[in-house]
């Protein structure tokens, strides 16, 4: 998972860098946001490290990050400027993050606290 996030970070980093270097035609992903894509790349790396170290917050951070990317992807799609590659990668990552096997090490197999009956002494 961390590796996938690193790949995603590389994509975003590349996009942002190319945009800053005004190489937009070569890499259309960076047409809209350049500083933001770099920031996303940075966040991706932080989250990837968190996942490598199995930090409990990393799973939620990764899901939230993909949420931001998906929201951005949908926005650009409805504006007529879709980024299908980014959308495909984000969808795949969300479904992967949501697998039982991936959630278990982060202690988020179930998000709802179980309600138990209070023990009372008679």
């Amino acid at each position: 998972m961390a590796l996938l996030l690193m790949v995603q970070a590389t994509l975003w980093g590349l996009a942002g860098s190319l945009d800053l270097l005004e190489a937009r035609p070569a890499f259309p992903l960076a047409e809209d946001l350049s500083p933001a894509t770099l920031a996303l790349a940075g966040l991706n790396i932080v989250v990837a490290v968190g996942m490598l170290l199995l930090r409990p917050w990393a799973w939620l951070a990764a899901v939230s990050l993909q949420g931001v990317i998906l929201a951005w992807g949908l926005l650009t799609y409805f504006r007529g400027n879709p980024h299908y590659l980014a959308m495909t990668v984000a969808v795949s990552l969300v479904l992967y993050l949501n697998l039982r096997e991936v959630r278990r090490p982060f202690g988020v197999e179930e998000l709802h606290p179980r309600r138990g009956m209070r023990e009372r002494e008679l």
Partner: protein
């Protein structure tokens, strides 16, 4: 006195003693207006009416002439009419109501705790608004009736001892003690924001005793009626820690206004799921099942407590911090036998006002014996089945029953083994004949028939052998169970419970005051916001979705469910994106999948070819 009647009198005395020995202790909630009372007092305060749909009801007998004998004689009344009692003639007017609530009502001592609406989600609040609107179309008990009933009972009953009506039923397995409690009024809606109000309220406690030859009757199970429910969830085993008791008396916590029975003190969220919503939920469950099993995914609703799901929600306040009634209290019960109450045995009409509510919630209930359609109540003719106890023998019987069952099974297995041996021998005999016939140069025409006979004999032998295997497994299981029982081990006392009532956690929503204000305003604000957004953006769905998302976000903050909200939102975005990708690239996806399948088939078949 004849021998027969003296025998009956002796039975009654014995029944009353048994009822007295195990009678429950009731703990009311502070602020409760009513307590179990005698029906004779109540009847003296009512008129008996009879009415047909769309016609003015006719007063059959006026107060104070209504007695048990009158009701018994009236029985079911005319078949096409609804027969009912009317307790409150004149509801309190607004001024009297204010005076009652501010100066006289014990409700002033009641603290509702966290607002009911803050205990449920946004969808529950919208449903609640729809439920409140439904009263415009339904018949309902008019405002001021509950307070008038409370004032009348306070003035007439005063400090009279509480009463129950007891009934003893002996079934082959259990001796069932039924305690019927009558309250003059159910003020659950008027005073506790509950589901309904109605005059007259019958509640039931059933205790299930086993007859142990050495120790006499021992209590095995206790079941408390709650909101017309039935089944195993109503009962608790005597050794269940949730069942509190003083000596041999179980303790029942009475819901304020509703008078439903609970085993533990606390506030209970009562969910009423509407039928169309239940169907929708079932279909969603099937989709979730595919999502979970096939795709190995988790959903945001997995592990969600049931009280968060889409249903009407009310709170039953069964805190037990009010008056205590019954054994070992300052207010002991007056016990009366059901069989000596002619009205309970014969009167099939309603025990209070008929509000013509098509959902029946605001109509008074019928008595302990009859359903509103005149049929007998399950709790009356089958008290064991009412609590889901058929198939659950008393503990003292079980080991003995297992021994008897084992004896039967062992002899049955012997017979089956003999039959199996016979069938196997028959199959062998037929096989020998068939083999002999097959080697003839010109096999006879009957050969095929012989083969069929052999096949049938083989199948018979197999079936009998399978039966022996199953009998062996059952015998082993029974022997193991008997060993556990003899060692004094029992099954988990809560194993039979599927949806037991559990009191709310004391931890309320975050920033309680703010959360309560939000819960009171949110449903209305959402509707107003929706109208405003629709007015500005017409039929554009995005602003409406954003508005709804914003409300759900605020909701998740108060209910400490932000993680669930984020997860659900991202999953939703992913699914929408996935749908867009499939829509945009369906042809390349189809081609790629077909190509992948082709490659896989070639690879798989070549692997088989190489391995040959």
């Amino acid at each position: 006195m004849s021998a027969g009647s003296s025998h009956m009198a002796a039975d009654s005395v014995a029944d009353l003693a048994l009822l007295r020995r195990f009678e429950p202790q009731l703990r009311l909630t502070r602020g409760e207006h009513f307590q179990p009372m005698g029906i004779d007092t109540y009847l003296g305060l009512t008129d008996l009416l009879s009415g047909r749909q769309g016609q003015e009801p006719e007063v059959v007998v006026s107060r104070p002439e209504v007695t048990q004998e009158v009701l018994a004689k009236w029985g079911g009344g005319p078949a096409d009419a609804v027969n009912y009692l009317q307790f409150v003639r004149r509801p309190l007017n607004a001024l009297e109501l204010v005076r009652f609530r501010t100066q006289q009502s014990p409700l002033r001592q009641f603290h509702r705790g966290t607002l009911r609406l803050a205990r449920v989600g946004l969808a529950g609040r919208l449903l609640d608004a729809a439920f409140a609107l439904s009263f415009l179309a339904r018949g309902r008990v008019p405002g001021g009736v509950a307070a008038a009933a409370a004032a009348t009972i306070r003035d007439t009953v005063g400090d009279d001892p509480p009463v129950y009506y007891g009934r003893v039923t002996r079934t082959p397995s259990y001796t069932v003690l039924q305690y019927y409690f009558f309250y003059a009024y159910n003020d659950y809606r008027s005073h506790y924001r509950g589901a309904n109000d109605h005059e007259g309220d019958w509640e039931l406690v059933s205790l299930y005793l086993s007859e142990d030859h050495d120790e006499g009757p021992t209590l095995e199970w206790a079941a408390f009626a709650a909101h017309d429910r039935s089944g195993p969830d109503l009962r608790r085993r005597w050794d269940d820690l949730e069942l509190e008791r003083v000596g041999e008396h179980p303790i029942l916590y009475v819901g304020a206004g509703s008078h439903a029975g609970f085993f533990a003190p606390g506030d209970y969220l009562i969910r009423i799921e509407l039928r169309p919503l239940a169907r929708l939920r079932e279909q969603m469950e099937e989709l979730r099942d595919v999502w979970r099993r096939l795709l190995r995914q988790r959903g945001s609703a997995d592990g969600e407590p049931e009280d968060r799901r889409l249903a009407l929600a009310f709170v039953d306040y069964a805190r037990g911090d009010g008056r205590m009634l019954g054994p070992r209290t300052e207010h002991p019960f007056e016990a009366r036998l059901v069989e000596e109450q002619p009205a309970l045995l014969e009167y099939a009409g309603l025990w209070g006002r008929y509000s013509q509510d098509f959902l029946r919630g605001e109509d008074a209930p019928t008595g302990p014996r009859f359903n509103p359609d005149g049929s007998l109540r399950t709790s009356w003719y089958d008290p064991v089945g009412w609590a889901g106890l058929h198939g659950v023998p008393p503990l003292s019987w079980e080991a003995e029953m297992i021994s008897e069952e084992l004896e039967k099974l062992v002899s049955s297995r012997l017979a089956t083994a003999e039959a199996a041996a016979g069938a196997a021998a028959e199959a062998e005999r037929l096989g020998v004949r068939l083999a002999a016939l097959e080697q003839l140069p010109a096999p006879p025409a009957e050969l095929e028939g012989r083969a069929v006979e052999l096949e049938e004999a083989t199948r018979r032998a197999q079936a009998l052998l399978r039966e022996i295997g199953e009998q062996n497994r059952l015998i082993e299981a029974l022997q193991e169970r008997r060993t556990h029982l003899l060692a004094g081990e029992r099954k988990d006392p809560r194993a039979h419970l599927s949806h037991p009532s559990i009191p709310e956690r004391e931890e309320g929503p975050r920033l309680r005051r703010l959360a309560e204000t939000w819960s009171a305003l949110s449903a209305g604000l959402l509707l107003l916001g929706g109208v405003a957004v629709a007015g500005v953006f017409r039929v554009s769905p995005l602003p409406l979705l954003l508005l709804l998302g914003g409300f759900i976000f605020v909701e998740s903050l108060f209910s400490r469910r932000l993680v669930v909200f984020v997860h659900a939102l991202v999953l939703g975005l992913a699914l929408v994106t996935l749908a867009i990708l499939v829509w945009e690239f369906w042809w390349p996806i189809f081609v790629s999948l077909t190509a992948a399948l082709g490659v896989y088939l070639i690879w798989s078949n070549l692997a088989e070819l190489r391995g040959r």
